[in-house]
């Protein structure tokens, strides 16, 4: 039986056929015993999975969640940004103080940017000219303790960005996409030496801490606004935007 026919049967079971495919399915089932058997087997597996999923009893723990959120809010100074914004509106004095503070922060950041020539180079935009040739590895960052190289491989199914890292410092790598939550399955560890440290620090945003020699890949196919930030000792080393 062809894979195409098996997928047609799968789509039938999942209720995902269009009218034309429904006709094709009916013909296939009438003409082929193999197809009919396959349909029954797949139907059985789907029924098992569906009934397993339906076994989970409906629950309501919204009360607990809301209580937990309120407790956290009460115990923490960090609220949702908009909530802070609203309380600022209520208190004009605080609003002016905040504007002054933001002004100072922005001012110092601008000063830092002008005095640190490295900061502009820290943002790399991969627009299709860098690393399109397989096996070409580009050094995107280098200092006496850390070296980061990037290789890009692309075909119709994949858009792979392979990072090779050698570092004696502990650096962090933060990966986000347009959702700000990239699935950890998009990141695959390719290699690391025995003494290398490659640990997930947080999943939201997805953040790894790295020390040693390692390489990992990110499949950025169909992903929008993927951004990878390498930082060390509270300092941004490199930011890469995958396009």
């Amino acid at each position: 039986m062809k894979k195409k026919d098996k997928i047609l049967i799968q789509n039938k079971i999942d209720g995902e056929l269009n009218p034309q495919e429904e006709i094709e399915f009916s013909q296939l089932i009438k003409q082929s015993n193999d197809a009919l058997n396959y349909y029954h087997k797949l139907f059985k597996l789907s029924s098992i999975l569906n009934s397993d999923a339906d076994k989970v009893a409906a629950i309501d723990f919204s009360k607990g969640i809301m209580q937990s959120i309120k407790n956290k809010q009460a115990n923490s100074s960090t609220h949702l940004k908009p909530t802070i914004k609203l309380s600022f509106v209520r208190n004009k004095l605080m609003t002016y103080a905040a504007i002054l503070l933001i002004g100072l922060v922005v001012g110092s950041l601008l000063t830092y940017n002008f005095t640190n020539s490295n900061s502009i180079e820290n943002n790399v935009l991969l627009s299709g000219t860098i690393g399109k040739i397989p096996e070409t590895e580009n050094s995107i960052y280098s200092d006496k303790n850390t070296k980061i190289k990037l290789r890009e491989l692309e075909n119709e199914n994949y858009s792979l960005f392979i990072f090779s890292i050698q570092t004696t410092d502990t650096i962090t790598c933060t990966i986000v996409d347009q959702f700000n939550v990239i699935l950890s399955e998009a990141v695959i560890l390719l290699s690391k030496t025995d003494d290398t440290f490659f640990n997930i620090e947080s999943e939201m945003p997805l953040k790894y801490s790295i020390q040693g020699t390692t390489s990992f890949q990110i499949n950025a196919k169909n992903k929008k606004n993927v951004s990878i930030k390498f930082s060390g000792k509270k300092k941004l080393l490199k930011q890469v935007e995958l396009e």
Binding site: L45, L49, A53, F61, S62, Q73, F179, N180, L183, I200
Partner: protein, 188 residues
Amino acid sequence: MLNKFDSMDEDKFFIEKILAGDVNQFKVLVEKYQNPVFKVVQRIVNNYDDAREVTQDVFVKTFESLNQYKVQYKFFSWIYRIAINHALMFVKSKKQFSSLDELPNAYTSKSENTIDQEKRDQLLYEQINELPERYKTVILLKYYAKLSYEEISETLEIDTKKVRSRLFDARKKLKNKLQDLNFFTAIQ
């Protein structure tokens, strides 16, 4: 099943209200998504109490990060991503701290003809969880979150053609694993 596409605007309406400071409106989103999220989480962590705890954390994290949510994308995609990542992380960290003896035994006896319900559930759990992450995710979203191909495509950011073929491969692997363990014979 939730009619997510019809209720997208509704989600955004509530999110805007929450972001404007009306925290209580978050309850509507919790009530709407708690069950499908809980089902996905429970299948990953395989323990009722852990699933409750993880699901609760997922919603709290979602709330805390709501200002990072971009309204042009669907809320359910976002929350499922958070839930899957969080549940997988939970399992990984739990494994690190448990001895192998404490983990459920793999059900490998091919001669066994009668498997009781509890063992069958455990076996199914083990086989789903042994799938590579990309297959496991697609099975969980399809059966436990009851998402359509289009919704899975949106959540995982892969095209629907890829969803079909990934589901196909996932089911094939799962079917073969279960067949090797006489799972289907045992439930007849």
